[in-house]
């Protein structure tokens, strides 16, 4: 074997380096796209958690339901895409409303603890997901067969649906934040977050606001589920990871804030990309939840939240 000449070695290293950096860019882009998707779920989860303090695990099941409803209309019934999506989202919102009406509101009226609400939510998650699995089976379903058109941006390749995901999130999220600040409903939601009793006293019908929050939050989960399913398909268990990432994003970003979960989702997804790059996708979960525990212990108020007084417990 002849000795490799120095030049070609150099070129190989340079190529490898190019490949490596290309891959990094692509991974970062994927992280950003995922961030867009999970920011929507996380925002929906935060709407509900910030106002009701219910750890709404069933959000994950509602997410799954959103994807499957779209599947029914689009694939099973063969309706056109806009109609299918709009119907699916409407029904997902309705599912959220039903959850509040049938499960949480009665508990709230009884004055049950939040732990009880959490356990009911867990029960609802299990029942709903297994119902879906029973009807549709456990195997992966796709919404759209075939290969997606792709767009190239320098070193980054995005499919058309990924592009749609980014656009949706980048339009919806700022809009929602703005609406929360400016509109009457937004004010009511923030008032409910800050002080439920006072809000009630001031003549706001908090029950209706809660219903609204559940509808909107669930629809957001639905949007993110449908967008994700259009890209990578679905199975009955997609809801749990989505829910967990949403919850972790909220804690990292800051409970009580609405910008926090969005920032948290982007940070988390980009971090996950970096983990894939440097370590391996297999350790992604460990890193995500390690980060969660780190935040819970050392910065429970998250990045944007305000430090809650421990002493609140006394009163």
């Amino acid at each position: 074997m002849s000795r490799p000449n120095l030049k070609s070695v150099k070129r190989e290293i340079a190529d490898a380096f190019m490949e490596e950096s290309k891959m990094l860019w692509q991974l970062l882009a994927n992280g950003f796209v995922n961030g867009c998707l999970f920011a929507l779920t996380a925002f929906g989860f935060a709407l509900i958690y910030n106002t009701t303090r219910i750890f709404h695990i069933a959000h994950g099941a509602i997410y799954t339901a959103g994807a499957y409803l779209c599947y029914v209309f689009l694939v099973k019934l063969g309706w056109n895409m806009p109609l299918a999506i709009i119907l699916a989202l409407t029904l997902t919102a309705l599912l959220g409303i039903l959850t509040e009406l049938l499960v949480y509101a009665p508990l709230e009226r009884r004055g049950a603890s939040l732990l009880v609400a959490l356990l009911s939510s867990l029960g609802l998650y299990i029942a709903l997901v297994n119902f879906i699995a029973m009807v549709f089976g456990n195997e992966t379903k796709v919404l759209r067969p075939g290969v997606e058109a792709t767009f190239h941006f320098g070193p980054i390749i995005l499919t058309r649906i990924q592009f749609a995901q980014v656009i949706t999130a980048c339009v919806l999220l700022p809009l929602l934040l703005l609406l929360l600040r400016l509109t009457d409903w937004g004010k009511k939601i923030r008032a409910l977050r800050d002080n439920p009793t006072l809000t009630e006293v001031m003549g706001v019908n908090t029950r209706v606001v809660r219903l609204f929050v559940f509808a909107l939050g669930s629809a957001l989960a639905g949007i993110s589920a449908v967008l994700s399913a259009l890209d990578i398909g679905m199975d009955p268990h997609i809801g749990m990871p989505a829910l967990l990432i949403a919850a972790v994003a909220l804690i990292i970003g800051g409970v009580g804030t609405f910008e926090g979960p969005i920032i948290g989702a982007f940070l988390l997804c980009i971090l996950q990309s970096l983990v894939i790059w440097q370590v391996s996708a297999r350790w992604m979960d460990a890193v995500t939840f390690g980060l969660l525990i780190f935040f819970l212990l050392f910065r429970p108020q998250g990045l944007l939240g305000q430090r809650r007084r421990l002493e609140e417990a006394l009163t």
Binding site: F55, V103, P106, L107, A112, S113, L114, L115, V116, A117, L118, L119, S120, L122, G123, L124, Y125, I126, A127, L128, V129, N130, F131, A133, M134, M240, L244, A247, I251, S280, R282, W283, D285, A286, F289, G290, L292, I293, L296, L297, P300, A313, L314
Partner: protein, 289 residues
């Protein structure tokens, strides 16, 4: 006949899981989502000690109990000052991390391939090699664990845990070291969870990480909630009920394909209904309020 003994073995295993979890959830009022992680650590530790170090079943089990108890401190010590759902979340994180480690540390656990050929436990030189023998074996161990847990729960230790559950501020004002006691209870429960882990490994003679998932932790919670938390009879009834439910469905001739889902739908709905009308479960005394 083996079928019956098999079911009773599973009930024995779940009774220990439920009673040990009850010490944390029912007595101390800490809803932890990582009991299956301790169950798994116990199973893997026992298995690895038997297979790699060549220890017998009982020495391995003892070491596994200690190891699990000590490992539980990693999550208990820092997160016990968290309240309510933050504590639940921290334990959920720990559960997922433990699962990820069991799944990915292939050189130690063989990851998704699992560990086959686990040695059969021996008692005084006699192999526990039939289902009936395993029923007796697990029954004696479950009985012994139940006795110990019963002694703990009916003691001043159990009482002070309940007091902490009811009002930790008042307990602290009486000079009780609330966090110390909570950590102790948590570690003891974790140590006990290693026992069913070892029993499961020795019975199945094969383990893989999928037996110790988040959903298994949820299953244990469901046992406690359906049976009832905070006393002794509730968890036992819950364990029996949850193990028998799929068998009952089988007798109703529900096809296997949907029976698994059906079972979970039933316990999901039961959870919702009980939380609404009877949060202390069928026989319990504590309703997570």
């Amino acid at each position: 006949m083996n079928y019956l003994w098999h079911i009773l073995v599973m009930i024995n295993i779940y009774i220990i899981l439920a009673l040990s979890f009850n010490l944390v959830a029912g007595y101390t009022g800490l809803l932890s989502l990582c009991h299956a992680a301790f169950y798994g650590i116990g199973a893997y530790a026992t298995t690895l000690l038997m297979m790699k170090a060549g220890w017998g079943f009982f020495p391995s089990l003892l070491a596994a109990i200690l190891l699990t108890g000590v490992l539980s401190l990693i999550i208990a010590v820092p997160s016990l000052r968290l309240r309510g759902d933050y504590f639940v979340l921290a334990t959920l994180g720990f559960q997922i991390i433990v699962f990820t480690i069991l799944y990915n540390w292939v050189s130690l656990t063989r990851g998704p391939y699992g560990i086959p050929g686990i040695p059969i436990p021996k008692v005084f030189g006699v192999e526990v090699n039939t289902v009936f023998r395993y029923f007796l074996f697990s029954g004696v161990i479950a009985g012994f664990c139940s006795l110990l847990l019963w002694m703990l729960k009916t003691s001043p230790f159990g009482r002070v845990l309940k007091a902490i559950r009811e009002d930790e501020i008042a307990a602290a004002a009486l000079g009780k070291n609330v966090s110390g006691l909570k950590v102790t209870a948590f570690a003891i429960a974790a140590g006990f969870a290693a026992v069913p882990g070892a029993l499961f490994a020795g019975y199945m003679r094969y383990i893989d990480p999928t037996s110790f998932t988040l959903m298994e932790s949820v299953f244990i919670i469901a046992i406690i909630i359906i049976g009832g938390a905070g006393n002794f009879i509730g968890p036992v009834v819950g364990a029996a009920f949850m193990v028998l439910l799929p068998e009952a469905l089988r007798f109703l001739h529900i096809p296997d394909a949907i029976a698994a889902n059906m079972r979970q739908i039933i316990y999901g709905l039961l959870l919702i209904i009980l939380m609404r009308y009877r949060p202390q479960g069928l026989f319990g005394e504590y309703g997570f309020e």
